[in-house]
Symmetry: C2
Subunit: 651 residues, 2 copies
């Protein structure tokens, strides 16, 4: 087997010393005081005998050497995922000799121990250390998810095949203790349901069983060796669209993906109308919960069927959604989310099961529900922050999820702030005359006066039927660029139009009393086609939306004492963000004025985050830590909000 490619650039030892990336080894290193960071220098031997490449890494003291490597995408042999059981994560430590554990004694000769060989998962990095990593003998299990992030596979779902000694009068250990003793690196907890199954399964399989463990909870005991079969489903529970991804936890790869419209649609298109529904009808909450449950259950059935996977082999699910979607799916009254002061029942949901969500996967599968930072910065955003590494990247980055409610996160590599901006329905096509959802027939790209006066990109390459959010931004940006809209957002006079853009001037006309710009006129013989135009009021809607958003990130930048040019990357998230043209976003002021290369469409980051927490316990801990690390900034009670908003109205 060939060793894996190391993705970030490596350094030679000389380069490291020259660059000052590591201090020269001190003559007598002392134990770390528990604060700050320790420096580890991994020297990774790509293949036997090759010159090792060097990777400097800084981690909090106390982290295991194995984890320090994992976090930084450095692969070390392991099949148990760092639990001290596979005895494969052999490294040679140069530095103060770490304590020798009983696992080390079983793994290494006395000579090797004296040379510094240890199991990486059992060495705490409390000093600066140099760590030699031998070539891999197994292909590392890692998956690239999120925005190019490599996640070392270490799912919370673990399976252990064990062959237990049969009980005797001399060994009357209880069934549970017998199993616990065989899996003694975990502190197995066991609920009543599993205990009910345990005696029968053990005796029906000659005491050869596979323990199914999720986060130290024994959720099942299966007869024989089923250790190769571990699956999980990641859900992105959107207000509009719900996506499910079935993951093979053995390899980290998706087995099937499916999506459908949220069955809550009949209660309203956005979160506010669904919250209103529960306020008007006491039975609506239960119906909304059921609708969410049916959506998730149908998708789960679909991905399992597509992959030919037994639903009972799905041992865990993850759910990323905004605070309202999560509350509705869990059957929690969402009313306090919908009215000031916008209060959540709880930020996190520790003890939810897949069956609580109405899923018929493994009956005791837990559900990881992403916590929310606020009523309008929900679990979908936390998942997105995880997927984009907002908590790890040292650059100053701005994350914007554009929608009816727009979530904004700003990190300067140290502090992380988040807020929500009420952008209104412009981006969903809601309050726009010819607005429509980003579906077949929606104009999503517009270029004025290139080869033809008006070039349109239409979803599905069909006759245009309307204008979706990204088309709206494009239309306004282009009209501002060619001068048909002035910086206050008003269409110019017919005279000025004829002067500025003669090829387009005839499209500036009126519908009723309102000035409009016609984007598409159907050919005369088209049967049911419609004229698609942009009205003055549409421009105002967008103007208000973009002002709300840019006020949001402007205030966050000020909070951290930063200007536009300090922002090194803007991530546009959500399905809308994926379609939005970076240039248009800059031109209308939706994002800070930056080179368009710095503006990245991050795609469905909520779904990626949901996958990551299933693949890696480390990432899961990171998601939980975000609750502490991110400060939520409430804009609606800021006295300066309205002034700033007015400032941001102009294009």
């Amino acid at each position: 087997m060939s060793p894996p490619e190391q993705d970030p650039p490596d350094f030679t030892l000389d380069e490291v010393r020259r660059e000052g990336l590591l201090a020269p080894a001190a003559p007598a290193p002392v134990a770390h005081d528990g604060t700050g960071r320790v420096d580890l220098l991994f020297s990774v031997e790509q293949s036997p005998g090759a010159e090792p490449s060097l990777r400097p890494v800084r981690v909090p003291p106390g982290v295991s050497v194995f984890d320090a490597a994992s976090w930084n995408g450095i692969a070390i042999d392991s099949t148990c995922g760092g639990h001290g059981t596979c005895h494969k994560c052999r490294v040679k430590i140069d530095g103060p000799p770490p304590p020798i554990t009983r696992h080390d004694e079983r793994t290494f000769s006395a000579d090797q121990l004296a040379q510094g060989w240890r199991l990486a998962c059992l060495v705490s990095a409390v000093h600066d250390l140099e760590v030699a990593v031998p070539p891999l003998t197994t292909r590392p299990k890692a998956a690239t998810v999120g925005v190019g992030r490599q996640v070392i596979l270490r799912p919370a779902v673990q399976k252990r095949y064990v062959e237990l000694a049969e009980p005797s009068l001399a060994d009357q250990r209880t069934d549970l203790v017998r199993l616990q003793d065989a899996v003694d690196d975990l502190e197995l907890r066991c609920g009543l349901d599993v205990l009910r199954r345990l005696p029968g399964v053990l005796r029906g399989s000659d005491f050869k069983v596979t323990a199914v463990v999720v986060d130290e909870e024994l959720i099942d005991v299966e007869a024989g060796d089923t250790s190769g079969v571990r699956r999980a489903i990641a859900f992105d529970l959107g207000t509009t669209t719900v996506v499910a991804t079935l993951l093979d936890l053995e390899t980290g790869t998706p087995m099937a993906v499916a999506s459908m419209l949220n069955k809550q649609q009949p209660f309203g298109a956005d979160v506010i109308s669904r919250i209103s529904a529960t306020m008007l009808d006491p039975e609506a909450l239960e119906r909304l919960r059921t609708a969410a449950a049916h959506t998730l259950a149908e998708l789960a059935a679909e991905v399992c069927q597509e992959a030919g996977a037994d639903p009972r082999s799905v041992y865990e699910v993850a759910l990323a959604g905004n605070a309202t979607m999560v509350a509705l799916a869990l059957g929690i009254d969402p009313e306090p989310l919908g009215v000031a002061p916008f209060v959540m029942s709880s930020a996190s949901f520790p003890s939810v099961t897949a069956s609580d969500l109405g899923l018929t996967v493994h009956p005791r599968a837990p559900a990881v529900v992403f916590p929310s930072l606020g009523a309008y910065v929900g679990g979908d955003i936390v998942a997105g922050m995880l997927a984009t590494g907002m908590d790890r990247d040292k650059r100053t980055r701005l994350f914007i999820d554009v929608g009816t409610n727009c979530e904004i996160v700003l990190s300067d590599g140290d502090r992380i702030l988040s807020t929500a901006a009420p952008a209104g329905p412009a981006f969903e096509g809601g309050a726009i005359r010819c607005g429509m959802r980003a579906a077949d027939g929606a104009i999503e790209v517009i270029r004025l006066a290139r080869q033809e006066p008006v070039e349109l990109g239409v979803i599905g390459d069909v006759e245009p039927k309307g204008l979706c959010g990204s088309g709206l931004v494009d239309a306004v940006a282009e009209l501002v660029r060619v001068g048909l809209l002035d910086s206050s957002g008003r269409f110019v006079t017919d005279e000025a139009a004829a002067d500025l853009a003669p090829a387009l001037a005839d499209r500036l006309t009126k519908v009723g009393e309102e000035r409009v710009f016609v984007l598409h006129r159907p050919a005369p013989d088209t049967p049911v086609a419609e004229t698609v135009y942009l009205s003055q009021r549409d421009v105002r809607e967008l103007q208000f939306a973009k002002a709300a958003i840019s006020t949001g990130w402007t205030l966050l930048l000020e909070e951290l004492g930063l200007g536009h040019s300090d922002v090194q990357q803007v991530l546009l998230a959500g399905s809308f963000g994926s379609y939005l043209s970076p240039a248009a976003a800059v031109r209308i002021g939706l994002v800070p004025t930056l080179p368009t290369l710095r503006i990245v469409s991050a795609g469905n980051v909520a779904g990626e985050g949901a996958k990551m927490v299933l693949l890696s316990q480390r990432e899961r801990a990171g998601a939980a830590a975000l609750l502490e690390e991110v400060s939520y900034v409430e804009l609606s009670d800021r006295p300066d909000f309205n002034d700033r908003f007015v400032e941001q109205l102009s294009f």
Copy 2:
């Protein structure tokens, strides 16, 4: 209010010094090394100005002064049960000044702090200390349960009435955090069900609510102040009889008691026949589980109705039963308990709810299920050990629960051993010709040749119908005493009988081919009456049973290097033990040869233990600790068992 009576004798300081109960105060006490015990001398002021009485106490270092007092029945003012919130448990410490907490600062003046006043629940006893306890201002909440043990009320079920600040844009704490912050001495955990109720209850009651907490789990939030209403039910789940006691956790007093026959009776009278039922019929387990559930549910309904208590105000239940009864009630396959090597699925059951037991009390009420030490030393025995203080008393004590299966526990004040002896059905009247259960008409006491040749004590004072276990023991003991049975357990010849006991000789006769002793001959005109007699085979049954039991305790005594006379107390437990005459038990060798005053009928100790764990978290921890403290001795694989058994056969 008058101060409570202190039950154990108190000492004056002089007596204490003279008796050497406490070492004289060292000039400079040093912090304890964490092992062994610390000595506390409580000086309890019974009424203002009265001479304080002194109570020396030894506890493990690190225990709070409040707990040290609680454990020893010394009442200190408290309404929060030692949680640092009521600020009532004021004591004056003489010894190295303990650290001053923020609660102390709020409670005492600087002068008082300098004098050594502290809150007892916040002082760790790490040094030998003298503790002055002022007179009580509140009536102590304590209950006498078990064998004269005083338990200071500190239930796991707690209620806290809180008036929360309403949310605002400046205070967007989640509903759960708002509540957690108001109850900040507890680390409240909260499941999905409670979270579903939380937003509605808070807003429906102007944020004035009562949190219902069991062991830091928030099981409910109730509108308004319901803090005065806390109940629990203790169940003694016997193979034959099930007893329920509804407890008022505010006062520690029983509100109602009810009992009924276990509805599993149709599946067999003893545990082995019920286990066999599950082995013959795959559906029997579920039917047995349901039968147990119906028994418990009917009793719960009955005690609630009798006391006029809302079943939803029952926030916790406790269940003591033998390992088989518990397995069946929980729906766990009992087969491995019934066949060698007699293995339990698990010794303890941490996450059981009342609803798992089929109870319709509070829907999220937890169930404390007593752990078992072995397949035949079950949770009922652990409860009995708790109730009799087997783990605390420094005397050498033998605890015997006599029944079809007989459980034996021996403590020398340091080590505790337990074992089970298969006594067979003699004591339940099962294999005895005229045997019957201890019900109306059963002969339970027999005296030969006092005023009349045969004096009988009959349950219900009715015409005798049969012989129950205690009557069987009495009959054999009396026949041995008068010489009609020889020490090998054989009836003497008619000639010998006429010689030894002329007034009784005519009762020694035959039924069929078997020699019998007639205990009761109905008067000629009694319509359906029966002759009650003791047969030679009956004597053999009892002989085997008592040999099994005495072999058990003989081997335990040998294990600890003790003889009969070292035993300071024998506790006879279970409903059978309550009826058994101590003198008869000694005479037939069922218990060691001791003065009868040292042989105590302990009554229904399993039920008492179940009450104790509901009244006191401390006692609950004690029950769990017994699992570690008690060694289980398996007799059936001991090579010397059979020899010992034969030795013990003679009377």
